[in-house]
Symmetry: C2
Subunit: 410 residues, 2 copies
DNA sequence: AATTAGTTTGTTGCGGCAACATACTAATTA
DNA sequence: TAATTAGTATGTTGCCGCAACAAACTAATT
């Protein structure tokens, strides 16, 4: 049975996690404040804090003097609690980072990968970088808390298996087994958009939010759904395919790679913006974009269009605004369905966030239901294109915060 | 603080609830089987069962002989555990039912209500029927476990206040206070679509499902989102407005009452079907619908169109099929977003479910993403137009199953 | 400067309680 | 009678709550 019952160990674990999360969210904080906030007895809090101290997950950091009475001993997360390795597998790159327990990056590297090469080669490339990363980390002489891996596709969390990634054409890859054998670390595998959502919850703009959506915009549009204080994955991990709402059934529209017509993402993904620009360039010749293309000997890309927009190019700016409106329509639908606190835009397209966001917000306001308390904040991810890499770190941190008992005393 | 910590009382409550829910879901069942399924110790299960017996929530029911060894004493829910009053407030009717703890209806009545009358009058009408219902129930000489009320609009669950119901033009109605003062019962207030979803989870077609959607189709299209094993309500209770996905922004389309154009519900609600029929009648004259209208001296309604469909009327059948395809497009989008186990169609429109469902399923298959394990079952609610009334009962039952300690021993 | 009162923090020891382990009794089949 | 399975009784473990207490400070007064 899937552990649906509770016992004393559960109580201890749960309260330990509550206290640790509070120290993580509101540092520095005293035992007395923890007792007030949690409703636990002072003595219980002391005992729990001792447990966390013994595991070196938190440490005492000076006294809070000022008011009357005995000064409080303040607690905060111990960044030296351990190191974490994060791996992001993209369609055409591998990114690896090492951070401390607070998510501060200590080492990182990103390498291009050839998606036409076979699977084993790309995995070996990732393993090689990870080993370098660990060698760099080991100099610090701190234990490793685990390795997180973010990948496109659906994932079996428990087994650490990538079930299916359409973009990579991969099926049933046992990342958990492979990486734990090679690194001897605890390995956590998660979908990239979900990982990014957890990053926002732990380190980003959704630290207090129970209900928010992370929209991952790039080649397609995917989503991480954070609902009722946890990730929602659906029956078998496919939840969050928000880009394929097929309602726009107008048959004159572009055919989506999913085989249907009128999918939201065909109006608001990377390629749609490039198309908009191309269409405009055929008519108008005042744009600086052709010059940039020639100078950089590059095809039209989002970074290039952004560069043009930065320089005030009208065609670039208008293309982003158009795409922003299309994106906003999808956002408005999501707001009506989910009534979230926030929607956070991330992924490759978010590098143009400053140009997309005003149009998105305008359309959202126009299209979502009018009740004022129903409005959701629309935000840009602070992690930009690194959201999933930070997410890979975050899933390890989150596991430690959830189950501090798993970390050994020493 | 919102009780984020656990103690021994929590453990007891939680395990008691687990055991009770198992007896509810898989009756009849023995203590030994409960111990195996829950993983709890046999002696613990015995103690928990004693607690439930003392509260008369379950009872022993014969022995399971057959195999070797001592025969098991089987347990099941005690229908006589108590009576429940359910109230559904519709836009133009009030429905009240009394059931036993298993949801078997003992008494029921439905009265039309005049939505143009003022609020107080409608509430008094409801209270009058509730008092009759309770008088009928009291003859049984069993305690009442509580009263559930399902209403359109958003609800503050804790306070039992209807925050806002656009269809009724009501704001801030303290149903909880009013009904508990008048009946001396514990009162639970819930949104109608959410209540219906809980009914499906407890009594209907979603008994085993952790992730499913209830689609309430009538004047509009609303949804109850059951995710991660519980209802999802969003930031402030507005979640589930699935009918207003504004993606179909084609400006030639009908303006939705929400002020936008192209909302899903304008293509698939009651009125859209009536419109389809009207448009067809202007062209074709072979339909029997005009005859039915004349005979019954009634405007075109869904029941009337269904009557025509039952008689094989082509225009009626084709109208339902068309609407079913529109509905299916929305379903497909929901399946992509939520990856649910099931989508259940209920509400007034579901009386025509047999004609809508084939078209819905066809469109769903065509429009949702192809992975086979991503498919969701599309089902008709077994409660038809009574889904929310049963839901009002279900929210009380669910509370008892969640917190059996609240029910007194005797 | 010394003293006293008052306040807040954190610890200690004890009691209550829930689940668990173990050893038992009960009721049946072979 | 032996084997098997169901359920009960007893004692143990471990967690939290409670209340008293020690510690460390500020503030006011002498």
């Amino acid at each position: 049975m899937s552990k649906n019952t509770a016992d004393q160990a559960f109580v201890r674990e749960h309260n330990l996690s509550s206290v640790l999360r509070l120290i993580h969210t509101q540092p520095p904080i005293s035992r007395a404040q923890l007792a007030v906030i949690t409703g636990l007895n002072k003595s219980t809090v002391s005992s729990l804090v001792d447990e966390l101290l013994a595991r070196k997950l938190v440490h005492e950091t000076g006294n809070n003097t000022g008011g009357a009475g005995r000064p409080a001993t303040l607690l905060e997360i111990n960044p030296q609690a351990g190191l974490i390795v994060g791996v992001e597998l993209g369609v055409d790159f591998v990114s690896v980072a090492v951070t401390d327990f607070l998510g501060n990056i200590i080492w990182r590297r990103r390498e291009d990968a050839d998606p036409t090469e076979d699977q084993e080669k790309m995995i070996n490339q990732a393993l090689r970088i990870v080993k370098e990363a660990m060698a760099a980390g080991e100099k610090k002489n701190i234990r490793f808390l685990g390795l997180g891996l973010a990948t496109p596709g659906t994932v079996d969390l428990k087994e650490g298996v990538l079930i299916f990634a359409p973009n990579l054409h991969w099926r049933n890859v046992p990342f958990g087994k492979i990486f734990s054998e090679q690194t001897k670390l605890r390995v956590f595998v998660e979908n990239d958009a979900n990982a990014a959502a957890i990053a926002e919850h732990l380190f980003g703009t959704a630290r207090q939010s129970q209900d928010f959506l992370f929209v991952f915009a790039g080649v397609g549009i995917g989503g991480g759904l954070f609902l009722n204080g946890k990730l929602y994955r659906g029956k078998n991990g496919y939840a969050g395919e928000i880009g394929h709402s097929p309602i726009m059934a107008d048959p004159s529209q572009t055919v989506c790679h999913c085989g249907n017509r009128g999918c939201w993402e065909t109006y608001a993904n990377q390629y749609s913006i490039i198309q908009r620009v191309q269409a405009r360039l055929e008519v108008k010749r005042t744009s600086i974009i052709p010059k940039l293309i020639a100078e950089q000997n590059s095809p039209i890309t989002i970074p290039l269009i952004k560069q043009a927009a930065d320089a005030g190019d009208r065609e670039a700016l208008d293309s982003f605004t158009e795409a922003g409106h299309a994106m906003g329509q999808g956002f408005a639908g999501l707001i009506n369905i989910f009534n979230p606190e926030k929607i956070i835009l991330g992924g490759p397209l978010s590098i143009a966030g400053e140009y997309l966001l005003p149009a998105i917000k305008e359309t959202v306001t126009r299209h979502s239901l009018p009740e004022s308390d129903q409005q959701a904040e629309v935000l840009l991810s602070p992690f930009g294109p690194d959201a999933s890499l930070i997410g890979a770190i975050a899933i390890v941190v989150d596991d430690v915060l959830s189950k501090p008992m798993n970390i050994e005393r020493r």
